[in-house]
């Protein structure tokens, strides 16, 4: 990706995604944290489009920015007498150390490895190709995923049922 548009888009989307994620971790109110989380999800969707994964970008907006964030808001409003603040436990500094160490390790490995990536063309429209792959080569995991979703739906209903 050498053209100026891709470079500018990458840095803008990276700043949006990472900044919103840091705000999610730092802000002191859970509802505001959810709003920042949605921003971060939208930044990741933009990065998917930049990586020429158009179908995944749309799926990211629908599922993460749409469904999962609404689910989180529902969980917040269904626990009304619980504390709404986004505070840390006593594990703040150990968690910071572990997360920072893992982050540094992954970054060091990613920069030290010769990935051998050549200047490859992006994917052309991926939606139909993903649809064909899901119904040909990946048909078994596709069916298993439907059973998983059914089980998760029944489990969620049973867990929150008032009896």
């Amino acid at each position: 990706m050498e053209d100026a548009g891709s470079v500018v888009a990458f840095w803008a989307l990276a700043a949006l995604t990472l900044g919103a994620a840091v705000v999610t971790a730092a802000v002191r109110d859970l509802v505001r944290a959810v709003v920042a989380l949605v921003l971060s999800f939208l930044g990741v969707a933009g990065l998917f489009v930049l990586l020429s994964a158009d179908f995944l970008g749309v799926a990211q907006v629908l599922i993460y920015a749409g469904a999962i964030s609404v689910l989180i808001v529902f969980a917040i409003v269904l626990t009304p007498r619980a504390a709404r603040d986004n505070a840390e436990t006593a594990m703040l500094w150990p968690a910071l150390a572990i997360a920072g160490a893992l982050m540094g390790l992954v970054i060091a490995v990613a920069l030290a490895t010769d990935w051998g990536d050549e200047a490859r063309e992006g994917f052309r429209e991926t939606a139909s190709a993903i649809g064909e792959a899901l119904l040909n080569r990946y048909v078994l995991p596709f069916e298993v995923a439907s059973v998983l979703l059914l089980a998760a739906m029944l489990g969620a209903i049973v867990l929150v049922r008032e009896d």
Binding site: F48, A82, A83, T89, L96, A151, V160
Partner: protein
């Protein structure tokens, strides 16, 4: 300058680190779940960038893997938030410091 695979991998590592920090340190169960979702996003981002930069254009296994990963993440979020609501019903709290039933 051009944008390569390393840029996306470093961004994904940073995002994963923020998510891991939230999942390890937050007091509220819902905050922990938000951290887990951030980690899911970071891993999906690295999978898509590997697919974009290393995979042959006619194969789409990296992107199909992300489709399944998003599916499993959605199921996980639904069950985990149902668990949070169920815990709240029993104990009037979603504070992990006070959910210490198994503490020895």
């Amino acid at each position: 300058m051009s944008i390569g695979l390393e840029h996306f991998l470093v961004l994904s590592a940073l995002l994963f680190g923020v998510g891991l920090f939230m999942a390890l340190s937050k007091r509220n169960i819902i905050g922990i779940l938000m951290g887990i979702e951030l980690m899911f996003n970071a891993v999906n981002l690295s999978l898509v960038s590997f697919a974009r930069f290393l995979e042959a254009a006619e194969r789409l296994s990296g992107q199909v893997f992300v489709v399944f990963s998003i599916t499993v993440a959605a199921a996980e979020a639904a069950v985990a938030l149902a668990l949070a609501v169920a815990i709240y019903r029993r104990r009037e709290s979603v504070d992990v410091d006070r959910i210490n039933l198994l503490r020895w």
